[in-house]
Symmetry: C2
Subunit: 586 residues, 2 copies
């Protein structure tokens, strides 16, 4: 062992102890007659001291030669520090060095290894191993480990069994694009990497495994949006002989356990909201309920006048911005600009100030009188001092726009406190979703999701109206988990696949093994999967996942540190019975 | 919830309780006026009873209609059983059913779902979800979960952090063949699936993460030998600021913890054996030391006579088979046939019986007298009643042959008791291994393994003699883990790669990121990886891993249940800039 103690543990009680430490030189101060070195390891920083009086000359010179990030081993005596640093765990002491060994030298790192670094995203990704030395990244990875351990402990205590499902499986064109893996031993054939272990966990239920979980990597070959990774980690769970209520209870328990153990926060029973209500009140299916600003639907109180914009709209929505009446005209103009950005896409925004005396001043006073505006305030819940912002248009679009505005305003108003946790179940999702481009319905969750009892018949007449036994767990405006009760009846599964446009042959080729399995006594079952990367980030008080992943890829799916993907040898290709087929791009 | 209790928990203390159970019909006995059903779930079996007197007629008929593996839900009263079954956990009671619901019917399964099944390997693989219902497989998977949990608990308590490393990495021609993954977004380029997270865990050490572990899937595209899987699971570990001794201690601690928690076995400090001694005494680097039968080298006591076979041999080895003198001539002839099988490859076997009176009778009495044979007995440790078996030939070959014979004899003699655990460290492995075919040396462990201090110079003069800081953990004749102290100096790493035949460009292209990382202050580090599949199997008292893997592949790398790998659409290929290149086989 190269050390007797870590750099984070020496306290006043260690004074006069002989210790050996090893770590990296965080920085050093050379006053000529004295040299201080901050020695860093995973656990903290300890100050080392060398001085002319007590340190041999040769060692003094060696100490002066130490550069940033040199790896050294020192032995010495713990002594009391003259000027104590109460902000540092080891601030009461320093180590007077009697032996110094340089274990490895270091060239100057391309960015400073400090909490606030001067390194940009790209350079930090290329030298990720140096970035990991920084507390924000290191602590995020340790935090992730802690969360994963608590997940495993909780579920294991509840008799869940972690079962490893295979990574080399079969490609299914349904859903997102698969990553595929050519098989050398089975010429011309490919495995696929799992987008999720969905069918395997269902087979485990058929196999009687009853309570399954797995923390598992999943893969999706999508064009990457910001903050998406081609490989991501799921907490994948499934239970047999349960109804929706049982699943909600178990995983609410898990989430509450994590909030308590990891964040020290006790949370009451999670509220539940119908999908339809979430869309109506918040304009999206993962509302952030840490703050209000619920939507008020204003059609009735706006469409009785001559204002054509509102009259032509399918939906008119307003929200009350708390304290928004203090915004200057310029600030409001900027807000209007903000909603008109292509990313949001509104054509404009109407507003009404609610003055402290209860009177109103709107941007459409020409059309609406004080009585009208009072109704706007009533519907949106606006109080004196607030600002009512109103958008209008097609239902889906205007809801999305207002949702974006609501989140932006909350951000600006500091209402999205990362230390406050507001979990929420959103339930009764639609079974199907209309693809506006193709005009076809596809499964909103996945093709194994069970429709609500008695709604199967609606599939023929009004497919969009069918609700599913499907639910999402939302935390602070992020979907952290989602799942459903599955179909466990072969006939219903066949009907579903037919409605999703699978021919009988396609259904058999892709899901035949699952349908076959349902013949041999499939129990009622259902489950849920959490996105671990995001869950960890949110529990850690962050909205971006990158620092919680040790070696993330960039938005082109590249690992810039190891420079992957890369070209492979022709020989390797030939062995795999493959040829490149690169076409000139137009 | 479909049940108030599991099928494994009802005892006499539950008598008169109303319960609801759900599960599978294991079997039913219909006596006309009475029907008994064994209801099974993951936790056990509970006997249900229906009888003419107490069960309504309609339910009686329904009960009679239940087939094997039907999924049912029942409510009823726990009653005392007339003829108790003390072998069953629930053998004191039965449930008098008042409500019966068939949740799902089942067709007759292709094999019986019992501990001893009539299903062959192939059919059980195809219907793996049914195989998992059988106790031997189900219990193995639960056992695996338990082992993995204990590994995580132990390492986490020792401040190890589980860090997830990427699955989509870069192909390196070194070592076994990679599985590759074409990248759609980076045309013509490929990711590779990791054979192990080796370089990433070393980068984590450079990153200061200090104590890392991960239970992680790894991939090797090898022609599969029996009991190998293309995807397998490793407990991958690495530590910084440690010497070999520290690593052995930590992971000996882990193994001892597992033996205690999982098997209830306390094991003393693990013995350590030099690689050279293992080869000399047992003929292989993973000796089973649950029993003796160590090799005796007989050159000195055999090569002084006119027996040409021995005189021409590089090495003559004997072992003493305890009690082997009782073998008949026919049994010994069969043993000779066994060693002459092509899988073993010996040309013959000489033997000497040690009679109870201490006299000898050998197959080469023409050449050797009693005095000679007494020396054979002395060197091999043979006692009256034993049999000395002798093989001769080239050192490497004869050691391998004798090792095979030793294991076979131990098996026959019942010396390989799966309930006895004999762990062993084998240390001081050679750094390099000569490839007999190419005449080149390659890394025995991997190219990042550190040579023993002071032996670097030998690389030029006698590469085969260089020993490494490399070690294996052996349990009952199986390598369950292996590792090494790594090189952490860029120059030494470059020297090693040169000796392994990498040009400077190849070294840079493949391991440049690691060598770069070593410039920025790499700490001394080392680690170890356990093969989880095998570790679990051996702790579970088995030698084959298949039942400890939920969904294994067959020897052609196929998942016969889901029928993967499979052909993919041309469209998918085109998107990946690939074409099939299937050549006529000669």
């Amino acid at each position: 062992m190269y050390r007797s103690h870590s750099c984070g543990e020496l306290k006043a009680s260690h004074i006069n102890t002989e210790v050996t430490l090893a770590g990296w030189v965080q920085k050093s101060r050379n006053k000529g007659f004295m040299v201080w070195v901050d020695l860093r390891d995973r656990y903290g920083i300890t100050q080392l001291i060398f001085d002319e009086e007590r340190t041999p000359k040769e060692m003094m010179e060696k100490a002066k030669s130490l550069g940033r990030e040199f790896v050294i081993q020192v032995s010495g005596t713990v002594i009391e520090r003259e000027s104590k640093n109460s902000k540092m765990a080891t601030g009461a002491i320093e180590v007077l060095v009697s032996k110094l060994e340089i274990l490895n030298e270091a060239v100057t790192p391309p960015f400073t290894i400090e909490d606030e670094t001067d390194g940009g995203e790209d350079i930090r990704m290329k030298y990720r191993y140096l970035d990991i030395r920084r507390n924000p990244v290191k602590d995020s990875l340790i935090f992730r480990h802690k969360v994963a351990m608590e997940v495993r402990k909780y579920l294991s205590d509840q008799e869940f069994i972690e079962v490893e499902t295979p990574y080399l499986i079969k490609s299914t064109p349904e859903g997102a694009r698969d990553f595929v893996v050519p098989s050398r031993m089975n010429e011309g054939q490919f495995y696929a990497l799992p987008q999720s272990p969905q069918t395997f966990k269902q087979l485990l239920m058929v196999g009687g495994m009853d309570k399954y979980f797995q923390i598992v990597k999943c893969f999706r070959d999508e064009d990457l949006r910001a903050d998406r990774q081609p490989e991501f980690t799921q907490i994948d769970c499934e239970m047999a002989f349960v109804q929706q209520e049982d699943i909600l209870n178990i995983f609410e328990g898990l989430t509450r356990h994590l909030l308590k153990e990891v964040n020290g926060v006790e949370v009451d029973k999670f509220p539940r909201m119908l999908f339809d209500d979430a869309m109506r009140l918040y304009g999206n299916d993962k509302p952030d309920i840490r703050f209000g600003m619920e939507f008020g639907e204003l059609n009735e109180v706006t469409q009785h006048k001559d204002f054509g914009v509102f009259n032509a709209a399918e939906l008119v929505i307003g929200i009350a911005v708390p304290g928004g009446n203090k915004y200057t005209r310029k600030e409001i103009d900027n807000l209007i600009k903000w909603v008109k950005r292509p990313q949001v896409g509104a054509l404009g925004m109407i507003y009404a100030r609610v003055n402290e005396d209860g009177s109103f001043k709107s941007s459409v006073d020409k059309f609406y009188d004080q009585e009208d505006l009072a109704k706007w305030a009533e519907v949106t819940g606006a109080k004196p001092g607030d600002l009512v912002c109103v958008l209008s248009g097609d239902t889906n679009k205007v809801r999305a726009q207002m949702s974006a505005l609501r989140m932006e305003l909350a951000e600006r108003l500091g209402l999205r406190d990362p230390k406050v946790f507001a979990p929420l179940w959103v339930i009764d999702f639609p079974l199907l979703e209309l693809d506006e481009e193709t005009g076809h319905y596809h499964a909103m969750h996945h093709p194994f999701t069970s429709p609500k009892p008695g709604q199967l018949e609606l599939l023929d007449t009004d497919p969009g109206a069918v609700k599913a036994n499907a639910y999402d767990l939302v935390l602070n405006g992020n979907e952290i988990g989602g799942g459903s009760i599955r179909i466990h009846d072969k006939k219903i599964q066949a009907t579903m696949l037919k409605h999703l446009g699978f021919s009988e042959e396609e259904a058999k080729a892709q899901f035949g093994f699952l349908m076959d399995a349902f013949e041999y006594g499939a129990p009622p079952h259902g489950g849920l999967a959490f996105g671990l990367d995001r869950l960890v980030a949110i529990l850690g008080g962050q909205e971006t996942i990158r620092d919680f992943i040790a070696f993330p890829k960039n938005n082109s799916g590249r690992d810039v540190m190891i420079d992957a993907p890369a070209f492979i040898d022709d020989e390797q290709l030939t062995e795999l019975s493959l040829k490149l087929n690169i076409q000139e791009k137009e």
